[in-house]
């Protein structure tokens, strides 16, 4: 039974056929293998046996409508684990290596429910992370809560911090994204009149609620506020409505697929409107690849960007080697999360999920990869929120994402359109 179960979920040390740049990967693997070997010699002194690996579960949509992003997340998860292991693993557990067990949630809510359950009951895990999309993470966190398994996630929905003891969110919340978007709108226009269109699941709803609440306080007028169902054939009717509303800025809280259509349609219509794409699909390399030059100058918000500090740049270089694209928001955040888990394991000196959960709740870092976040500090409050968490405003400049807002996080000047 056990053998069966372990085969059913992806083992990251198997050669991966789905990602590109096989040559580079082989070289990197040889390098890492060498480092690991050396590390193993150093980290396993007189005992003569290797410490049991610590299992970490990861739930991501490797298939389905969010597959492009899901695959990137899995690559980042593996990178994080490789980096932790290369640095010696968990020393308080005798140099135990992290073992990543990935499960595909197929971009589907029901599958997320059953897969999270299977992942937890079928393996001896110490913690889990996932699932990119807030709608999916909400479910995984419910399952984790009942199974008393700590879950760490970069998903932004504010609902994830309500009434939970096992969910930890080190990065900015949707309401904070909303506020940042509103403030960024004022960078481009004095009297912003904003049209808000949002996908109608947890991510879009959470962020848009934040927008609605905070707009009057920020001096921004919302002239259109509409939910839509993701996966439409044609964005023209939607953009037609935006045009009719008289807005001079468009906030589109969408995932990748729809965003591509929306942005291209705006160009077709010849609508001269500033687009702030929020986060979601906007801050992905695939966005630029699919819309091309139209993306230049468009703004968005992210909970992590590869230029926030040197550590982030290093992660970016490594990620680029593995996947061929720059490290996107969720990916970089994932690496940081892996280090946060490692930090918790180190302090807990145990692989028991309850102890790991307690160690996470007392996390307090301000240096190293675990603190790789805008603001550079991570400490969890009683509701699992990072009290120092804040988003960073980004802009597409020359095919790359540059941080431009707020002032202390800006790495490049704002590009004028």
């Amino acid at each position: 039974m056990k053998k069966h179960r372990q085969k059913s979920i992806k083992n990251p040390t198997e050669p991966d056929k789905t990602l590109s740049k096989r040559q580079d990967r082989r070289q990197f693997l040889i390098k890492t293998g060498g480092i690991l070997a050396a590390g193993a010699f150093g980290a396993v002194p007189l005992r003569g046996w290797a410490a049991d690996p610590v299992n970490i579960g990861g739930l991501y949509p490797s298939t389905g409508s969010m597959a492009q992003i899901g695959v990137g997340c899995v690559a980042a998860a593996k990178l994080g684990v490789d980096m932790v292991n290369a640095a010696g693993g968990i020393k308080s557990l005798g140099g135990a290596k992290l073992n990543l067990i990935i499960s595909d949630v197929q971009s589907d809510t029901t599958v997320t429910r059953t897969e999270t359950d299977r992942l937890i009951t079928g393996n001896k895990l110490s913690a889990i992370h996932g699932c990119y999309a807030s709608a999916l993470t909400m479910i995984a966190s419910e399952v984790a809560e009942r199974a008393k398994m700590p879950l760490i996630t970069g998903s932004s929905s504010d609902q994830l911090n309500k009434g939970r003891h096992y969910t930890f969110t080190p990065f900015a919340r949707a309401s904070q994204f909303a506020q940042a978007q509103l403030q960024m709108a004022k960078l481009v226009s004095d009297k912003p009149k904003v049209a808000v269109i949002y996908e109608n699941t947890a991510f879009g709803t959470s962020t848009s609620n934040g927008l609605k609440e905070l707009a009057p306080g920020e001096g921004v007028e919302i002239v259109m506020f509409e939910p839509y169902s993701a996966g439409f054939t044609d964005a023209s009717p939607l953009i037609n409505k935006v045009k009719a509303s008289g807005a001079n800025a468009l906030f589109s809280l969408s995932y990748l697929n729809d965003l591509i259509l929306i942005v291209r349609t705006v160009k077709q219509v010849g609508l001269n409107i500033a687009i702030n794409g929020g986060s979601g699909g906007f801050v992905m390399p695939d966005f630029y690849k699919n819309v091309g030059k139209i993306a230049e100058g468009l703004q968005g918000v992210a909970h992590w960007n590869h230029d926030i500090n040197d550590d982030a740049q290093k992660v970016n270089v490594e990620f680029k080697k593995r996947t061929g694209d720059f490290a996107f928001e969720y990916a970089g955040g994932l690496v940081a999360q892996t280090f946060m888990l490692a930090d918790a394991l180190e302090r807990a000196a145990s692989a028991d999920p309850q102890k790991v959960r307690d160690a996470l709740s007392t996390l307090d870092v301000s240096s190293g990869y675990a603190a790789m976040a805008p603001g550079g500090k991570v400490k969890f409050g009683p509701d699992g929120k990072n009290i120092y968490g804040r988003p960073v405003g980004v802009q597409w400049q020359n095919g790359d994402l540059a941080s431009i807002f707020p002032k202390e996080d800006a790495r490049k000047p704002l590009m004028k359109m």
């Binding site: 059913s8 979920i9 056929k17 029901t110 429910r113 009951t121 109608n200 169902s229």
Partner: protein
């Protein structure tokens, strides 16, 4: 041993195994698979009454699944009413819905009927999506965590859920058995063979169709409530999932439409195949598992359209004809 006695013995063994199973195989992972098998067998049995015997090929049964699911959830979260009661309430709502839907769809024949049923399920989902204030819209909701609350259909052990759905399946099978052996059963088969001819000899087809639809939708709604209680999460794509409509029909067809045990056999085969495929191929390359699954499906359809029960039936026929040839 006479065939009749043999069947009874087999049934008795089956019941003992079914009841003892979760006590012997305690892995949470395995029990989850059993629950899925029992649940989809039940959904298949409910569908089979209408689609198997009377050959009304509905691909919109997810509508009733969803209605049952949402009714009991709304009653529980908004009014603190136990899902046990909510389950029955959901069944009633489903029956009420089946009346206008049946009125609309039964006037249609062949593929029109099928497509209309698909459309009603989709339309229902879109309506629930639209009215977010009433039913949480696209975000859905989770059932509040009550720990161990048997009166609210929440159990700490998976085995308890196993027994609940086993009970549901037993209910469905008993109802099917009784109907099969009654006048209604004959009428259903007559309608399934040739509706016009049946009407010509005096069968009140519209009434029979309406009645069986009531029963079929009621049972499907029960399954909906159970499922939501089991996964403690609901949203429109989950509750009105087109795959449920497909699966209901599929397991019945593969196992043998219009037979008592057809849906059960079909589910066992399909779910086991699906789980095995997921174990071997699951997460290596996206799409492999379902590709193999669909190939198997196509093979069954191309070579054994009467399903497995049909195959067993044919084997028995051959044995009988061989026996009589020898005699």
């Amino acid at each position: 041993m006479k065939p009749h006695t043999r069947n009874l013995v087999l049934l008795a063994i089956g019941i003992v195994v079914a009841i003892a199973l979760p006590l012997v195989v305690t892995s949470s992972f395995a029990i989850d698979i059993f629950v899925r098998i029992l649940l989809f067998s039940f959904i298949g049995v409910a569908w089979n009454l209408m689609g198997g015997y009377a050959k009304q090929l509905s691909l919109g049964h997810a509508a009733y699944f969803g209605l049952g699911a949402y009714t009991s959830t709304i009653l529980q979260i908004d009014f603190d009413i136990s899902p046990w009661i909510g389950m029955v309430a959901g069944g009633v709502v489903a029956m009420l819905a089946s009346l206008p839907i049946g009125w609309l769809c039964f006037r249609l024949r062949g593929p029109y009927f099928t497509i209309a049923t698909i459309a009603t399920a989709q339309a229902l989902m879109l309506i629930v999506l639209k009215f977010r204030d009433f039913a949480w819209g696209a975000e859905g909701t989770t059932i509040p965590n009550l720990g161990s609350a048997p009166l609210m259909m929440q159990f700490e052990s998976k085995a308890a859920y196993y027994y609940v759905v086993l009970g549901l399946l037993a209910l469905g099978l008993v109802i099917t058995y009784l109907i099969e052996r009654s006048w209604m059963g004959y009428y259903l088969v007559a309608i399934g063979e040739d509706e016009d001819a049946a009407e010509a000899i005096g069968v009140n087809a519209p009434k029979i169709k309406r009645d069986i639809y009531l029963i079929s939708s009621f049972l499907t709604a029960l399954a909906g409530t159970f499922y939501i209680q089991y996964i403690y999460f609901i949203d429109p794509p989950t509750a009105f999932n087109f795959n449920i409509s497909i699966e209901a029909a599929l397991v019945s067809i593969v196992g043998g439409i219009g037979t008592l045990w057809g849906p059960v056999i079909g589910t066992v085969l399909l779910e086991t195949t699906s789980t095995l495929l997921q174990s071997w191929l699951g997460n290596s390359i996206a799409g492999v598992q379902l590709t193999v699954y669909s190939l198997i499906l196509m093979a069954v359809i191309l070579w054994r359209p009467t399903g497995l029960m049909g195959m067993i039936g044919e084997m028995r026929q051959r044995r009988v004809s061989r026996k009589s040839a020898r005699a």
